[in-house]
Symmetry: C2
Subunit: 311 residues, 2 copies
């Protein structure tokens, strides 16, 4: 089977994209411990928090405190979501290494999620990139709903390409193609990733997958085979989609790491350390769930043969 890169990078997004939708009140202490534990796993990037208005996302109102108190491990890039110029100011004061900006390729989803038109979002993101470039802090733009919008359905590839090239031209150092509500399927993922990698080789492409319809790992393999080397993922598969209650969230980091390591692709991440963290997640988010890889163990974690079998 066609192979992609022998080494990939993982951006752990659970502290931001996972915790932001949890109902539980997670203390600043617990968040700091969570990020510090993740820092010891070998991730290329960790998305620590969001400098959104505390009114919009109360769960992440302590972004400054978390950024200030985590122990930064050299080599790990600590990122945060920045929605506007006020957020940029806060993120820069907190010494964030890289900024993650978000808008949707779907007009309806952008208005539903960000409460403004795509035109207004684009202008705001360009203003942030311009300011960030002046102080030398790299920006990544996450384009939501590129593989489908829960309100509009399929999205025109031309629109994805137009927005991606607009932001690359403006100096964004990375573009993330987001399957926000888990609508992507493997050959679609392969096709769009190939097109972006071909047209915008300098885009610093990341893929952000959800497991809403069970296809996250299949899509990850398709993206990898197409040349993608950077993957967003959330420990325990945290995060999710308000339009699919009961469905899965982000692609599980531990499943992604396990699969690629089985395939001989280096992720840089210690699965043992990560699984130890995953085992603490139900307590962290104060609800019961069973991450499947944690339940099953890595594939070569063998079991003793039943004592009663005769040889």
């Amino acid at each position: 089977m066609k192979r992609g890169a022998e080494q990939i990078e993982i951006n752990e997004v659970a502290p931001r994209d996972g915790l932001q939708i949890e109902a539980a009140q997670v203390t600043t202490d617990a968040k700091v411990d969570f990020v510090d534990a993740l820092s010891a796993c070998g991730f290329a990037r960790i998305e620590v928090s969001s400098f959104t208005s505390p009114k919009a996302i109360p769960a992440l109102a302590d972004a400054e405190a978390v950024m200030q108190r985590i122990v930064r491990v050299p080599g790990v890039i600590y990122t945060a979501l920045v929605p506007n110029l006020r957020g940029l100011q806060r993120a820069l004061e907190s010494g964030v290494d890289e900024l993650n900006l978000v808008m949707s390729v779907s007009e309806t989803h952008n208005r539903a999620n960000l409460r403004m038109s795509r035109e207004a979002s684009q202008a705001q993101l360009l203003a942030i990139i311009e300011q960030a470039n002046k102080v030398g802090v790299p920006c990544n733009v996450s384009l939501s709903t590129v593989f489908g919008c829960p309100f509009e359905g399929d999205i025109a590839v031309d629109e994805v390409m137009r927005l991606a090239s607009t932001f690359v031209d403006a100096g964004a150092r990375g573009i993330t193609l987001c399957d926000t509500t888990g609508m992507a399927y493997p050959n679609q993922v392969a096709s769009l990733c190939e097109e972006v990698l071909h047209a915008l080789p300098q885009a610093g492409l990341t893929i952000h997958l959800h497991n809403t319809r069970g296809m996250a790992l299949a899509n990850a393999v398709a993206a990898w085979q197409s040349g993608v080397t950077r993957f967003d993922a959330a420990a325990g598969g945290l995060g999710g989609c308000p339009y699919a209650p009961g469905a899965s969230g982000n692609v599980n980091t531990e499943e992604l790491v396990h699969m690629f390591e089985c395939m001989g692709v280096a992720t840089g991440v210690s699965l043992d350390r990560l699984l130890a963290i995953v085992s603490t997640l139900p307590q962290l988010v104060q609800r019961d769930f069973t991450p499947v890889l944690l339940a099953a163990g890595p594939r070569l974690k063998l079991h003793p043969a039943p004592a009663e079998i005769a040889f």
Copy 2:
């Protein structure tokens, strides 16, 4: 991305492989209704029950009654598991269209699961095939643990090839490569499937995947790209592995159908009808679970835009 066949066949195994490990007492009436509903979905095959000793699998002790009472839809092949010559007799008397025989490629797993050596299993299966061939009823041999054994770890490909060709030479009309406990990973699946298809093009290859470690759909795509056209699957992802409590079971039929149909690959299965059946499964097996595709809906089942967004 590399495409496989434009049309695939699905063998729905939930009535046998799913129900056999459920703790709930499922009535014969409920089983008959379940199989009859599945018959209207468009499956190539349905594995209806198992002609095992009622002591070994009490849940399927009513195999004769179920076979007798289901309404057979022309074009659907009704199969059943047959473990020995006594089971063969019962299956033939019940007019099963095709027999599914099982043994493990791992000595330890075979002894743990079937309580005999591989040598004894092989001899027994060959005797069944010989008898079945005499009366013209086709046999499929499912080889367990070909992608890894929970006791022994990785399995020698040579052993898989040896057993597969032994049974093909003896007149088996199909070979199923079973990832019994979800240890398979995509490039391993591709490699073994390619080898079997190359060496035994007449083998009538089926792949049987489990989602124990989240990779079922990724493995299905890898198998499809390698030329596999027949897939076992269980509605709702029923079934599972006694060594991974809490983990997922068989590959979800509805997720498999949904993915391949999204990819433009015809499965012959009506997803709408199948999802209607899936919605009844928690009641059938008397435990609460949320099949993820049922929760999320097919990817293009769109949602109304939030009323409050301004346009």
